[in-house]
């Protein structure tokens, strides 16, 4: 058992950066005018963030130093934890000597901490109008009719594809399932695969299920399945898998995807061996740095399968929460207000920052091909509803067992009956 501890320490990769008062001389004067509510904040504000990738990390460190500079008597202490490691470390962090503000995810992922009373109920701050412009996303942070945090960014999912190869093969963006299958047949006949995917860490398979199920049976059915109200052995669920199987049987997906993680599958897309990738918008950054230009890369919404169903979309939301044991509640409140303000939202989600969608309705969306398309899609073409993602909408244990089954289905589609019975048994036990 000693062994495990060693591993987790080595994966910890925690870095500590303390911003002393006045350290950041870039006290953006425009900000002072905009956000400072002239509160006399003092003491220390302790933040633990999971924004450990290079670009998000720079954003988070910038936010901390700006907020620090805004409040001369307050010093902000930021700890950045590796994003994957944080998923397990948050428990310890919140129970013993909790910081004031932490990063986490919306929807069901909050449930264990809300139920254990580790997140602070901040409904009153919402009601007091602290977070103007965020009304539309309040639902994702609500549980038991109380609000438990604020979002700071979200991003669309959809199919990123090689525009140049589509042009070469004379294909256009598919809007229906028939067009999708026809396109894919042409791509397969040209010796390529339609989709790159790396399912080693399971969740990319969850994305495929989310979309196929939302398009086959609709958003409401999908969420009912997530809430455990529908059996996995239901014929409608089988219909989703039957559609999925059409793609699998025609060789749409790259082989051996169970061995790769999602980044390792990207080179296939860059080299043109696979022409599309169902992913979140965070993939664009890596595709671009892999050498694809915006002329080669484009985006389309997942095609319609059952006509007439309002489209639902996955748009996972990342959040800030105040720990129940926070020491500096006033500063935490001011920080949440600062992060969600229209001006900061525009800036941190811009192309220089996260390259994602701002949560504040009054913020402006970055002038980027993919962010613009995503924003238009989510605001105008997602009448069904916005889902968080398989591993955030389903309860944790069901999500883990479910995604394992989805991966198995993608490799051995013949095992479907067995997989569905297993998932159904798990559903009956878990809910």
């Amino acid at each position: 058992m000693k062994l495990h501890i060693v591993i987790w320490i080595s994966r910890e990769d925690t870095m500590r950066s303390i911003f002393k008062t006045g350290a950041a001389a870039l006290a953006a004067t425009t900000l002072l005018a905009g956000a400072a509510a002239a509160q006399e904040l003092s003491g220390v504000l302790r933040i633990i963030s999971d924004m450990s990738d290079p670009a998000p990390r720079a954003v988070m460190e910038g936010l901390a130093s700006e907020f620090d500079a805004l409040h001369p008597n307050l010093s902000v202490e930021l700890t950045v934890v590796d994003r994957e490691a944080w998923k397990t470390q948050i428990r310890n962090a919140l129970s013993a000597n909790p910081p004031d503000v932490v990063n986490w995810y919306a929807a069901n992922r909050m449930a264990p901490f809300v139920n254990a009373g580790l997140f602070m109920d901040i409904t009153e701050w919402w009601d007091a109008g602290d977070f103007a412009g965020l009304e539309s996303v309040r639902g994702a942070l609500t549980q038991d009719d109380r609000v438990w945090g604020v979002p700071y960014t979200y991003y669309q999912w959809g199919i990123y594809y090689r525009e140049d190869i589509f042009a070469e093969l004379g294909l256009s963006e598919p809007e229906t399932w028939e067009q999708e299958l026809a396109n894919c047949q042409v791509i397969v006949d040209s010796g390529r695969h339609c989709y790159a995917i790396g399912s080693r860490f399971l969740w990319p398979a969850g994305g495929w299920f989310d979309y196929l199920n939302m398009r086959t049976n609709g958003f409401d059915f999908h969420m009912a399945l997530a809430r455990g109200e529908i059996a996995w052995t239901d014929d409608r669920v089988r219909a989703t898998f039957a559609n999925w199987r059409q793609l699998i049987d025609m060789g749409a997906f790259i082989p051996d995807h169970q061995t790769y993680d999602w980044q390792e599958a990207l080179p296939l897309m860059v080299s043109g061996e696979a022409t599309g990738y169902l992913m979140g918008n965070f993939a664009v950054d890596l595709m671009r740095s892999g050498g694809l230009t915006d002329d080669q890369l484009d985006f389309y919404q997942f095609p319609i399968i059952t006509p007439g169903l309002p489209q639902g979309e996955d748009a996972p939301t990342d959040t800030f929460h105040v720990a129940a044991g926070a020491q500096n509640v006033d500063a935490a409140r001011a920080f949440l207000q600062f992060v969600t303000s229209a001006e900061v939202q525009t800036r941190i989600n811009g192309p220089e920052g996260l390259g994602q969608l701002p949560v504040n309705a009054n913020a402006s969306v970055a002038d980027d091909e993919f962010i613009q398309q995503g924003f238009a899609m989510l605001s105008q073409n997602a009448p069904g509803g916005i889902a968080q993602f398989f591993d955030r909408d389903w309860p944790a244990e069901m999500a883990a067992i479910g995604m394992e089954g989805l991966q198995e289905f993608m490799v051995f589609p013949d095992n479907l009956d067995d997989i569905l019975e297993r998932l159904e048994a798990a559903r009956q036990r878990i809910y």
Partner: protein, 314 residues
Amino acid sequence: MSSTATPAMAQREARAEATWLQRNRMTVTPILFLLPGLLFFLVYVIAPIFQSFHISLYDWDGLGEARYVGLANYEELLDDRNFEVSLWNNVKWLALYLLAIPAGLFIALFLNQTVTGIRLYKSLFFFPFVLSQVVVGLVFSWFYLPREGLLNATLAVFGLGPVNILGDPDLATYGIIAAGLWPQTAYCMILYLTGLNAVDPEQVEAGRLDGAKGWKMLWYVILPQLKPATFIAFVVTIIGALRSFDLISVMTNGGPFGSTRVLSFYMFEKALGEFGFRMGYGSAIAVVLFLIMLVFIAYFLWQMWRDERTARHG
């Protein structure tokens, strides 16, 4: 009578009191020296064992209230297919990992000669044991890669088809065990190399005069003298097999679809993994793993006790 007896008794008592420490020095000193170690062993090893037993009777997410559920966690284990797979994988690990012992022995015999530069060869063979298990795992997972890996490049030379070892649920566990055998064989080799130094040349000479050579020499003369080394190699290999965790975590993360999990990995996933936090269930798995280990631990202890007794009584 009484007037003479009382001072004498008091005197005797006084002497007894003054010398208690001195008289028991041989007992007290080792106890005092052992005390810090024992205390840590008690707090960090013995107590958690009982704590695991205790927690395994509860339904607890590590945060909220723990709910007593009796043996429900163990009942669930009985129909849990993942548990069954993990258990079988542990058996595979135990059986195949033992191959490290004969492999180590033969490499040791091969290297046990005086040739120029033998020290260099020895250190080259020992090298994998120095590597971190994580590095070993990474190296092997690259070696196995279905498209780019060295293994498939080699197979292609012989016209054999590409094989995705870590992506095939029937092969993945064997692929990981093979990776684990690399450093483990080196470990056994070094144990045998030291053992071979202690082999009595006179006995070898005597054996040779009696006409023993080759396999007979090895089996009847060399191996009996290597018994202590074999015992230690057996112990470290069994322990290594049962606590296999880092290789699995690095190479497959338990996948594809859970086919490479072993009990320690499954316990970790259920109790501390991203989607886990079922402390009770994880503890129940830990208890089962502990009971399996207990069989071996009991055997090892008994063996050591027997060896010590024969050593003492000649």
